[in-house]
Amino acid sequence: METLRIEQTDDSPQVILDMEDNHFELSGKSLPEDVVDFYQPVLDWLNKYSEAPLSKTIFNIRLIYFNTASSKLIMDILLIFEEMVGEGHDVVIRWHSRRSDDDMQEAGKEYEEMVGVPFEHIVFDK
């Protein structure tokens, strides 16, 4: 599958969906003017990927900020992984948060409770 790479801006995150390098990442800030417009290519890519994924998928979420509209689209991404897990695929979400950011750590735990996908919580210092 062709790699999807979106560079980060001051209101939208960096996206790397690279099957060849086994590198899946969403990082930076997410508060784009039109969340659906921004995330649709990501959802399309993941939907297609989910039909024939790698034996193990590690998806890294390393956001320093997301607004509530983005939280809905992050949920949509996680639901694709939930379906993959349901079909017997091995998927792990690595949720990275700054040590000082309790709200981001909490958000990761909340998503973990809501979707049937294993999470690994990683805390980093700046």
Binding site: D10, E33, N67, A69, S71
Partner: protein, 189 residues
């Protein structure tokens, strides 16, 4: 150009406002069209301070409340009509702080029908405890959809649950169809 009575009045008006800003610890005031760019510029002012100050967690919440409140205006404010021209997304933003708290206030025009819905919803959020707010947020996150206006129906719920404080709101009637909606969030330091 000499000072006419009118321009002197204008200078006094600006000076009075400046004095008020200092007295009430108002750190930011903006009136005008809240575009996406304006939202980023205003919230950027808070964000710039994030790395420098000790109450980083508090400022991060102030930032989030500002993003959500300003995006609400950007998406939902009724156009302000002046001399027959509509000005969409117009609003007012005010950020104030003292030793105990930050306050983010926004003002914008809403249709009365919408005002009733907002009042009912915010009133309901104010009666809910933390657990039921979390449950409502999760329910909306799972079942809700992003509307054509670009919101997910989560902003007010998240402000209420993240700040832990009651939402302060009022409506001032403008005419038979519209009201001015004033919304204040308190972020405890």
């Amino acid at each position: 150009m000499g000072f006419t009575g009118e321009s002197k009045g204008f200078i006094n008006y600006i000076y009075d406002r400046y004095k008020n800003l200092r007295i009430k610890d108002i750190t930011l005031v903006f009136e005008g069209q809240i575009t996406h760019q304006v939202m980023k510029a205003l919230t950027g002012l808070v964000e710039e301070q994030l790395d420098e100050v000790e109450d980083e967690k508090v400022l991060r919440r102030v930032y989030h409340v500002m993003v959500e409140s300003l995006q609400n205006i950007n998406r939902h404010a009724e156009a302000y009509e002046y001399r027959g021209h509509p000005y969409p997304g117009m609003g007012l933003v005010l950020v104030a702080k003292n030793k105990e708290r930050f306050q983010v206030t926004t003002g914008n025009i809403v249709e009365d029908a919408h005002a009733e819905e907002i009042a009912l919803f915010l009133g309901k959020l104010n009666t809910m405890d933390q657990d039921s707010l979390d449950d409502l947020y999760k329910k909306q996150l799972r079942e809700g959809a992003v509307t054509p206006k670009g919101g997910a129906g989560l902003g007010f719920i998240d402000i209420r649950r993240k700040t832990g404080n009651l939402l302060d709101y009022s409506f001032v009637s403008i005419d038979e169809e519209t009201s001015f909606f004033i919304f204040t969030s308190i972020i405890t330091r």
